[in-house]
Symmetry: C2
Subunit: 320 residues, 2 copies
Amino acid sequence: MAKTLLDLVKECDSFPYFEDNAEYYLSHLKNYHAFKVNGCDAVLGYLPNTIVEKFHWIENDWQVDATSRTVTLMAAPGATPKARTEIMSRLLAEAVRRQTFEVLNGWRHEMYPIYGPGGEFLLEMERSASPLFGITTYGVHMTGYVEDEQGIKFWVARRSKTKQTFPNMLDNTAAGGMSTGEHPYACAIREAAEEASIPESVFAERAKSTGVVTYFYIRDARAGGETGLLQPEVEYIYDVQLDASHVIKPCDSEVEDFRLWTLDEVKESLKRGEWKPNCATVMIDFFIRHGILTAENEKDYMEIVARIHRRLPFPTATYN
Amino acid sequence: MAKTLLDLVKECDSFPYFEDNAEYYLSHLKNYHAFKVNGCDAVLGYLPNTIVEKFHWIENDWQVDATSRTVTLMAAPGATPKARTEIMSRLLAEAVRRQTFEVLNGWRHEMYPIYGPGGEFLLEMERSASPLFGITTYGVHMTGYVEDEQGIKFWVARRSKTKQTFPNMLDNTAAGGMSTGEHPYACAIREAAEEASIPESVFAERAKSTGVVTYFYIRDARAGGETGLLQPEVEYIYDVQLDASHVIKPCDSEVEDFRLWTLDEVKESLKRGEWKPNCATVMIDFFIRHGILTAENEKDYMEIVARIHRRLPFPTATYN
């Protein structure tokens, strides 16, 4: 059966809302432990209770409180990010040694940042482990498109069949996660070159920052590894209007092929559920900003707009 | 002191969030009665308790439950919108006769719709009374702009000094509320003509639907009448790129004057707090979509984007 656009958004923004059913929301929260660092009040992420049970928590490094359902990283208050990161790394190294978690088989050797209130950098952790702690992750997504009298066309990527996550699904023109220290624009210009062979000069001239898409994802089987892990995400969005003569080519093995799709082809492939869920939301956001989806032609218009700009219940990054 | 853009957004999106402080949010909710209609489970709005006390509730028409803090319009389940509307109108007529509420001095003779789950039209009520019940109201806002090698300029309206609400403040090029039966595009094309003398043919060619801005406003003194009333709002947004030769002129007495403002002039006037709050959020949304505000130059970027696309805790309209 064809999926509606709201179905696609819900696959991506799957964490419940307090306002929809307070009782259900509060009981759902009991499935998780809050992740905190010593000396900072903010909740930085959520670990499923089943994950908390499996970790071998190192004494003095960690405090696990089953009553308040809290996991606290016990570096001294005011410790350096480096000191906190070492504690996290010790824990994860032990989990790798014991082969505790499937998601860690996809170790990326990439460090993701964790921010406290006011955007304070608290620590960093290995990317593949981030969903175990349910921390907010940051990335960039860009849509390369061509527009002429015949209409609009989109450069759509198909993910490699051998990719660990969401193999063979459709993807935005380029996208990528932001490691510690990276800023959105710098990440975008790098990913455009690496994934879609878009020269820096072309990106600098043609790309426009057009907002941010946020959602709170509960990982399903397609994400690979354990299901039910949380992944609150922030995706900085760029539109890249290209000349008709500009041909996008894969640059690394992550993309199977690139093809210029018509608007109808994109719409149909969305309905068939062929897009990686968060890439579908990026296309939907493009459609809304460009007047392709309107209140008059999409019955779930408002719900879609609100859900792809979800206010995440965690401190988030600032870059200036 | 200069206001930040987030300050401006917070003036408009002033209702608290559960996630920021669950205890405060739940205790804040105790200041209100939920508005419901008989036979429908959904909360349609919130009335401050002080307003509930002042109304002369007509027996059999209304059920006021102080324990569950609920005000229910008691038309039979499955009643027609007309039957429900008559009950509401009787109540409001009595309030006008008794001069109970200041906001009703601004009686507009315009009916605003109230929707239930799935966008079902339940009833309508006089526009000026809508904040007494805290129902979601709908409108359109459009930004007329000119772009050339020298940059971007905006057609900014200054509200009439004698306007009841937000007199003398800066406003978008055109904007207006949507009465029962009106759809966003039809409302926008009408307001463009009425308020900014933009011919229908120019609007049809130049305007683009670019999204929706939503926020949950607690009315302050500048809105006129009682303060503390709730006003959850949905504003459908249009960008209208005009030729440099197109001059916008006021068409009715609501606008003092129109002038083409540079980007810097708009930014400075925002900081000085000269804009009607919700019109400020519409400009901010434009800045984000057009790459003027970015994650790199605005520290509150994410919080701003999420708050001006707030998911309202009420059923909302659909138009198809």
